[in-house]
Symmetry: C2
DNA sequence: ACCCATTAATTGACGGTGTCAATATAAGCA
DNA sequence: TGCTTATATTGACACCGTCAATTAATGGGT
């Protein structure tokens, strides 16, 4: 051990969070162990307990922050006032698609109910806000649809999530990634435009 | 140790498979450990290695069998000749929905790429056959659609998978489980009927 | 400046896991 | 019978999460 390492780290909590995220991106969620994270930061194996009660607590904190990042991205997209109404509806699906394809390991973590605590109020809050945005935009565009508003929202989000998840599992791999010159994910969204009755 | 227990189990492989499935249903995939399964069958902790190379091998074998069960269910449904064309298309989504809601832990396992080996040829074969059924039925009903056949198939399967997965994660929980007197999953499928252009 | 309560980090232990090597046992066949 | 092979056991190793006991440093009150 280097003699100049101070006993107190001063901001170990953030350092642990960063190290965990880095391990997650590099080697998947199974690599994000309490001990590995501590090792990465250069601290003893039980040090993290002062900042994260247990592994679930650490992973839940990461998930909250990631959902928050997605929400921020969504709100940035919706801040662009030159969008068509259908583009506004697709802001959330597009954000999820982009995020999922860019950070596969993070995306996977977000839906691991055996690892993160969905009862955590802060995670409920941010996912609810994303969902509310989606419903809001749907309501704006199709105020009187043949379909219940929640049904459309759930169907749309489900489709996007299912696509990202299955694709990351290697499903549909033999199918070309592009169809009619467009990426598959674009075609998937086009399918949903038929539901919305807009082009 | 009971003295009458024979050294050789004669069909340990099937016994391990059964025990694993039982643990999976009861306590989730994290409870399906090599040692717990061996314990359940009453055999030493390293006995399973003779029949399953490692944990991934055991879980992959289970996943293959479960996908096979789903395929069998699908083919039984499609054997009913009194179905409308849209009902035929929905045979696979319905089968997945029913399976996912009935066996949440098994369903979760099917999509855990960190636990099962999707490169296994037998798993590719059975998922491909399910996918081919879906494409076949879509082609029968909408031979010339504005959408690529694979796109519709992927979109439909994605929507169903995403719905089951997110619902099991507690998402959409505050939304009523029924809409207009129909279960939510039925409403979701109705949304997709709009895409198919049929009622 | 000192003391002391509080916070933060270390060390060591416990039971659990997967996996491997060495060993023991039984089966099946020549 | 005896030999080969398949199958199961035992024991070890390196991980893991978590906890209790201990040590180190901080910071506020006197």
């Amino acid at each position: 051990m280097s003699k100049d390492k101070p006993f107190h780290h001063r901001n170990l909590k953030e350092a642990l969070h960063d190290a965990a995220l880095s391990l997650l991106d590099a080697d998947g969620v199974s690599a994000v162990t309490i001990r590995a994270v501590a090792r990465e930061v250069g601290v003893s194996h039980a040090a993290p307990v002062n900042h994260y009660k247990d592994r679930q607590s650490l992973l839940t904190t990461i998930a909250v922050q990631q959902f928050q990042n997605i929400l921020t991205d969504v709100e940035e997209r919706l801040g662009n006032s030159s969008l068509s109404s259908v583009e506004r509806i697709e802001a959330i699906p597009s954000a999820m698609l982009d995020y999922g394809l860019k950070y596969p390991n993070r995306y996977q973590l977000l839906w691991r109910r055996d690892l993160i605590d969905y009862a955590d109020p802060s995670i409920l809050e941010v996912t609810d806000r994303i969902y509310d945005w989606l419903c809001e935009e749907i309501q704006q565009t199709i105020p009187e649809s043949t379909f219940d508003r929640d049904t459309v929202a759930i169907a749309l989000w489900s489709m996007v999530h299912g696509y990202v998840d299955m694709r990351q599992n290697g499903m549909f791999l033999e199918k070309s990634d592009t169809v009619n010159g467009l990426p598959r994910q674009r075609a998937i969204l086009d399918v949903f435009r038929a539901v919305l009755g807009v082009n």
